[in-house]
Amino acid sequence: MSFTPVPIAFELNGAPVSVTTSPVARLSSVLRDDLGWTGTKVGCDAGDCGACTVLVDGEPVCACLMSVAQVGSRKITTVEGLANGSLSAVQEAFLRHGAAQCGICTPGFLVAATALLERNPTPCEAEVEDALGGVLCRCTGYRKIVEAVMSAHLPDRYHNQLLPDAGHAVGAALPRLDGRPKVTGEERFGADVRPADALSVAVIRSPHWHASFAFGDLEGYVAAHPGLVAVYTSRDIPGENRFGVIPAYADQPALADGIARFRGEAVAVVAGERQAVEALDIRDFPVIWTELSHALDVASALGAKPVHASRPGNVLVAGVVERGDAEAALAASHMVVTGEIETAYVEHAYIEPEAGFAAMDGDTLVITACTQSPFMDRDDTAKVLGLAPEKVRIVPTATGGGFGSKLDLSVQPLIGLVALKTGRPAALTYSRAESMMSTTKRHPGSMRASIGADADGRITGMVFEGDFNTGAYASWGPTVAVRVPVHASGPYFTPNYRATGRAIHSNGPISGAFRGFGVPQAAVMQETLYDELAVTLGMDRLDFRLVNALRDGQTTVAGQEMESGVGIVACLEALKPVWQRALAEAARINRDDRTVRRGIGVASCWYGCGNTGIPNPSTIRLGITQAGELVLHQGAVDIGQGSNTVITQIAADALGVPLAAIRIEGADTSVTPDAGKTSGSRQTYITGKAAEKSGRALRETILRAANVSQAATLSLEAGAIVVTEGEARRRIELSTLSENAHGYVLMAEESYDPPTVPLGPRGQGKPYAVYGYGAQIVELDVDTRLGTVKLVRITAAHDVGRAINPLLAEGQIEGGIAQGIGMALMEDYVPGRTENLHDYLIPTIGDVPPIDTILVEVPDPEGPFGAKGLGEHVLIPTAPAILNAIRDATGALVTRLPATPSRVLAAIRGRG
């Protein structure tokens, strides 16, 4: 039974509102669900993320922790109340500084910042941090948020800045084109689109690591709860109850069938009217569990009964890359260093939990939800539900961060099942705990490696073995097992090499894709050993890396000859002045024997863009309507990283029109061709290349129609295209042309698939057509008596080939670094123990130091306008550079991540 609803009236954004609801309802849910103001976001329902921040009489509070009755007669301001006709100064500042990426955290920041700026229009950095410390952002790394708030009082110099002219879009540091709704609160995320008449869906999940289960009286349960419509279990699934991002390894049931293999696995869904479902205490659900033996870590899983009978020894996939004779090379080396590193489960911790709704449109199932990969969602959901792929349409909402985990199915088959069975719309928003329990993680890695060098400091060989805990189902485990051996050498010439990567099943959370697919873990292993080699050889650590850095013409460990575009030397060179300044400062600071010691660390990265040696095409369509509207079908889901802007910039310049002439049609499997998944740092390069090709193709068609040369310029007018070349001016009347099936009179649709060669048995081939490179320097202070680490500054040099949009590139770098900081210093997902953002710590605004970005541009002949991928590269060097800096400060290497104060002090004391 729930509370008697009471009438409640207060002032919301300057106007009176009244609602009759439970007095203890959270203000956040009343605002969103009862009053329909969805600008206020819910990321945790527990005070931990600040996404729900609203002002109560001008003071910021978490709306998720305030009962609506407590509002009393006070005034509430939400993000929707900040703009007054035009955007407020801080909203404008967020836009022009790129302070909103995915935008899910933006309302909370804007509201908290507004309270600060009311009191103090010109706050210093520390004041901004204190005021905004209660709001988490997983995308931006906070630096641009700090900048935006500090400069909100400045006149808006950019306000009237026009979009770039034809031919000048690529390279322009533009604010994102889709930014405005993110700062006004109008952006609609997965939880914001729920239709009023939708059924609610609750998911019953296993509380055990491994258990068999049997249901009690399900019909009786439904009957006993008025308002419930049905309970569905695996028996109700019409198709093949098995999905997975890599079809050959698909092994995960949408609803477990008799056995649950990990804590949090879905076993049944309950569908019903919203109030009935919200009033359920799912602990009363009739299911009887019988616990089975389980293994949670790699060491115990290797000897345990297989999680899947078809995978003996719990080995899902073992990948190997082998070149030369690594053992012999190490034996003959002047010096060999050996080490071991353990990393933790890392949670993606996007601020938006998975959410969406499903509804039938005739005989087509339409799923409107947050995602990174609409076409994969479509195909897998169709398979599970026994539908033809064309009978499922995926309409992505704005996605509040993904970082790899929203590549896998989550809510889709569950809401799809309910909509299909009941014929009614069905909505589901994961709770924070559900999201953390049931979706994928970064693989914990247990790695060992030996690296040898000759007396001049040249790498002679390397042996690497990594076991990665892939959890109960395959997900992206195979990708990690293959990517790691290809990349574990780092961007260094390594003539003799053997690396193995194994994905090992356990009953732990499923490990999947997370920015870098295992490469960030492997880089910690390799880069910390590089420091040991350099220090032992008495070489400068940066010089040591420069000596060994891969150069054009050299061959990688996977046997790929790098003809051109290798940018790691340029990155390391760009860092040299910073390195020297930082070392000198550290020496000065550390001259007195102080408790707090300065340490400097450096590490590099390389990363192949796109799938590893297997096809992964993107298709882009550009069309011109009879009315003269130019439409870009841009299917690369923008999860905050900026593809809506970057792909448009590329298309504009390839076609030769001003950016403002293009209207974007977003990802939707029924209207936009497949641009593949947003992962593998592939969108700027691969979809960008498809956009470039489409743009050029459409231009070609137009020029041919006008019979002019390449030098001609285009402009779109109502109903016509005007082509000018010198004195000549031709008008193509669009009304004279006939529309094609897509409704366009002129259209180009081009695909691009990177030219790669699959890896052979020894892992040799051409796994990627384009790589990106980078290196970072970390300056930090270690309190040697408490083991606490304070980051002072991070300098990042990344070779992006060509910075299509330097502002967005910087945003990616800062955001990736923040995630690297988390992985290095605090993030440790302990299944069953840290399933919330209270105990699972990600960096706050006070944990990310100033970041200096150096964009290096060594063009790649393959990429669009020379561009390379960047999204994942950026977090790879951060964690190893931090560990190297801690060792530089203290002499102690932490070998188990995260390097919490407890572990840092233990390492200093030799208890490591």
Binding site: G133, V135, P901
Partner: protein, 287 residues
């Protein structure tokens, strides 16, 4: 159907409490997270409208903090230097949002081993005032918090105030919170100290408390005694020894190891003392 009440005076509240079965809701910052996604089925007594429970006043020289006073109100209040530790603790509770709604009595009643308010109030010799239809009683804070999530509050009692005796509102105080990140962080360990010096600069009285290193934050009486009479300077810190921390019983958890907590406790007590002595620049918070 669960009941809901939002009384406006303490008397109405205690009259309701006498009926039994109520859960008190103050700022809700512990209540709602603990509730999670489950529906609320308790009878809720919302004390948010009781003005008499808010604010800070003086009563016969004692400083009386209303039970429902928020952390922000404490930060903004004009209080003697002895309360600097409490203010510093207040500033470290979660975030501004949490400080704006979370209340001091909520922190004590929730009785988390890591409650930041407890050490700072222990060094002020704070007393907890409880009211019921049976009358009013006062308990020293150390007798109020009994264990992890356990207090001496009877089900029909309302905490009405936290009272700091005049005698303890003297001297300088300092607070040190150790956490794994800068904001929104539960303490790995924290220390509060209050030091009164005589005219010669010697320690006349001192109070030291450590939190998150035992089920309930504890005063370090032996160390307090050993410090009395010494000059309040860096040299005094030399007396700090292992024996002074015998009463702590830290545990291993995701935040830190027990060994670490023990070592860190010694270190932060030293730093908080140095700060209160005025011998170092404020080393407030390590994150």
């Amino acid at each position: 159907m669960p009941r809901y009440a939002r009384p406006s005076t303490p008397d109405e509240a205690i009259a309701l409490l006498a009926e039994g079965g109520w859960t008190i809701l103050a700022g809700g910052t512990d209540f709602y997270p603990a509730q999670g996604a489950r529906p609320i089925r308790d009878d809720i007594l919302d004390i948010g409208a009781i003005e008499a429970l808010r604010g800070i006043r003086e009563d016969k020289g004692d400083i009386v903090i209303g039970a429902a006073t928020s952390w922000t109100e404490i930060v903004r209040a004009r209080l003697p230097m002895a309360f600097d530790a409490l203010k510093a603790a207040a500033r470290e509770v979660g975030s501004v949002q949490i400080q704006n709604t979370g209340t001091i009595a909520g922190n004590l009643c929730n009785a988390s081993p890591a409650a930041d308010g407890v050490p700072a109030l222990l060094v002020l010799d704070a007393e907890v005032e409880l009211a019921s239809t049976r009358g009013i009683r006062r308990l020293p804070l150390r007798d109020f918090v009994l264990g992890n999530r356990r207090t001496a509050r009877a089900a029909d009692e309302l905490v009405t105030a936290i009272r700091v005796p005049t005698a303890s509102a003297a001297g300088r105080s300092s607070f040190f919170k150790l956490g794994a990140r800068r904001y929104l962080v539960i303490s790995i360990a924290m220390a509060a100290v209050r030091v009164e010096t005589d005219l010669q600069g010697r320690i006349a009285r001192c109070a030291i408390a450590v939190g998150a290193c035992s089920a309930v934050a504890r005063r370090l009486e032996r160390l307090e005694a050993d410090l009395v009479g010494r000059p309040a300077d860096a040299a005094a810190l030399g007396v700090i020894g292992e024996r002074h921390f015998d009463g702590l019983a830290p545990i291993d958890d995701v935040r830190a190891s027990a060994v670490y907590r023990m070592e860190a406790a010694r270190e932060i007590v030293g730093r908080a003392l140095a700060d209160a002595f005025g011998t170092t620049a404020g080393q407030g918070v390590a994150a």
